[in-house]
């Protein structure tokens, strides 16, 4: 069993100094020598790093408006070659969320190779909404999403990766939180050959809070990578990041790089980040790297935790003492562990579907 757990040492590259550009020519080719691609060889990207065409698949559910990238860039800018190529396509799907709307489900179904898709999601002042982005299908898709969480508003964005075994997806998801706003970001990554999500949160006003949750399960030769980043650039905001993963099979690989930056201006910040991985079999590899950069001493609290590998002996004993064999007990613990995140989706249909998929994977049927 390979376990990789690093302390909060100095990151190879300070996260805040990463270059940002809408111009693909500003980025070098993707290479594992680059910190942000060090775990993911370009061969696994199905050509997303070479050339993209605008999304030809189907978008069903939420109503969308067409706009262009001229209305974008206030929330986040591309930080890698693939995201800048998406941007260069110019087309953007706009999701406007108003007060009194209900949960919106958007099913993003792709079947083609080298697709690019950009969203701008706007949650208006005082609005309380939930958006579920359900990614299904095959092929390869690169996404850029900007999420504008207006002052005093409350938004939950759920990104589900439930793709076919051969599918590839990369998604850069930027959110900016207005004064006293509340943002919850949930990621569930279960299906797909290569999944790479980079959710980034920054603040535009004081008193905002963000909760970023993730659940993932890699088996077969899946590569599932999440790189959440919270940029505390404003005073008196809070963040809580918690990602949970399970791995099964000698070739399964997961990566979690959690960056939290507390800038000088961000006095009174409260932050915690956590990543836990459960390894069901030997050989599976879970890289887990929490990075905490603190530029001011005037904070309320900052902490992180990372653990990979062992099951809790007392939990297993309890289940075994009720007649449940060890392997089944481990599976049950994993199901519960991931269900803690999945049960927050708020759609019984999707939750059942994802739990059934996890069960099939645990039993080696998928």
């Amino acid at each position: 069993m390979e376990q990789h757990s690093h302390g909060a040492g100095i990151p190879l590259q300070v996260r805040s100094e990463r270059s940002r550009s809408v111009n693909p020519s500003d980025f070098p080719a993707i290479s594992i020598r680059d910190e942000q691609w060090r775990y993911l060889p370009a061969e696994r990207l199905d050509g997303l790093d070479r050339e993209l065409t605008f999304f030809s698949g189907s978008l069903e559910g939420l109503s969308l408006k067409e706009t262009t990238n001229e209305s974008c860039g206030n929330i986040g800018l591309p930080e890698d070659l693939i995201a800048s190529q998406v941007w260069a396509l110019g087309q953007v799907k706009l999701i406007e969320l108003f007060n009194g709307q209900e949960t919106g489900l958007l099913t993003i179904s792709n079947n083609a190779s080298k697709q690019g898709l950009q969203f701008l999601i706007k949650n208006e002042k005082f609005a309380k909404n939930t958006v579920i982005l359900n990614h299904v299908g095959s092929g390869s898709l690169a996404e850029v999403i900007e999420i504008d969480v207006a002052d005093e508003s409350d938004l939950t964005v759920i990104s589900i990766q439930n793709l076919d075994d051969d599918a590839v997806i990369t998604s850069s998801q930027f959110a900016k939180l207005g004064r006293n706003s509340r943002f919850k970001h949930i990621v569930v990554s279960i299906g797909g050959k290569t999944i790479r999500l980079v959710p980034t949160v920054t603040f535009a006003g004081e008193g905002a809070s963000v909760e970023m949750l993730g659940a993932y399960f890699a088996n077969g030769d899946q590569h599932i990578e999440h790189r959440p980043f919270v940029d505390h650039n404003t005073a008196n905001c809070s963040s809580n990041v918690a990602y949970k993963g399970a791995l099964q099979g000698a070739k399964a690989h997961t990566v979690w790089v959690g960056d939290v930056l507390i800038r000088q201006a961000a006095e009174g910040t409260k932050t915690y980040e956590l990543n836990r991985n459960l390894l069901l079999t030997d050989g599976a590899r879970a890289d887990s790297v929490p990075n905490l950069e603190i530029e001011t001493g005037q904070i309320e609290g900052a902490g992180h935790a990372s653990a990979s590998g062992r099951f809790d002996d007392e939990q297993l004993f309890y289940l075994q003492a009720r007649g449940i064999p060890e392997l089944e007990a481990k599976r049950l613990v994993v199901k519960g562990f991931l269900n803690e995140v999945i049960s927050q989706i708020g759609s019984p249909e999707l939750e059942n579907e994802l739990n059934a998929l996890i069960e099939a994977k645990l039993e080696g049927k998928k």
Binding site: E314, R322, G323, V333
Partner: protein, 249 residues
């Protein structure tokens, strides 16, 4: 008639200072329908006995044997022991986040019985058992032991006891942390399970309080890892009056 025999049991645990012997030659025989109370001061090894019977990996048996109807229990994994008819009601049940009580109970019942219970009668049985233990029906949708109060955890243990129907139950300080009302409810559950399944009971307790509700046939006083004195219910009355002082010098 089933029989659980513990013969000359020696058990050690690993500590920072090396291996430490906790049980030093325990002999006990429990038959179907009998209730044995194990009483003793803190640190005498009562809980170690409970965990050793259930097969917790932390406890190493260095000598002696445990036999269930002649079968060597020590060679069985904890789940095999449970399927063979042993049950441990734990003093500190652990939380299993994300797994509902109803899912857990059904999974355990399926494992013990070797097949999934028929859905409708099972739901009815669970509901009745919960009503008997004065547990709210919303309880079954909560995660196993997560955020349960001390009393709720103990009721949940006894709920499992009633549903899984073991031949022998070890109750590890089931009375601790219960108020009088809860103690009565939990004790009635144990008595129901005993009558229903002709169950043998090993009741581990520090106090005589629970013995008002669960009547022991035999009382064993545990001191320094072995049985120091044995007798009938009258021994418990004597302990009530005198405490454990005369065993400790």
């Amino acid at each position: 008639m089933a029989i659980l025999e513990i013969k000359n049991l020696h058990v050690s645990v690993d500590t920072e200072a090396g291996s430490k012997e906790i049980l030093r030659g325990v002999d006990l025989t429990i038959r179907s329908g009998e209730t044995h109370a194990i009483m003793g001061p803190n640190g005498s090894g009562k809980s170690t006995l409970a965990y050793s019977i259930a097969g917790h990996p932390k406890y190493q048996v260095t000598q002696g044997e445990i036999l269930l109807d002649g079968e060597n229990v020590l060679e069985m994994s904890p789940d095999e022991r449970a399927r063979a008819g042993l049950f441990l009601a734990m003093q500190y049940p652990v939380e299993i986040p994300g797994i509902s009580v109803s899912n857990f109970l059904r999974t355990a019942k399926t494992a013990i019985a070797g097949e999934a219970p028929a859905l409708r009668p099972w739901i009815k049985e669970v509901k009745e058992a919960m009503t008997n233990l004065k547990m709210d029906s919303a309880f079954s949708e909560r995660s196993v032991n997560e955020g349960f109060s001390g009393g709720e955890k103990k009721r949940h243990e006894i709920l499992q006891l009633e549903l899984l129907k073991p031949n022998f139950a070890v109750l590890d300080e089931t009375d601790s942390g219960l108020d009088v009302d809860a103690l009565k409810i939990v004790s009635e559950g144990v008595n129901r399970a005993q009558v229903a399944n002709d169950m043998g009971v090993l009741l581990i307790t520090h106090y005589t309080r629970i013995l008002k509700y669960i009547k022991p046939d035999f009382v064993h006083v545990f001191v320094a890892g072995k049985v120091a004195e044995e007798g009938g219910p009258e021994l418990a009355e004597r302990l009530e009056a005198e405490g454990y002082d005369r065993y400790l010098d």
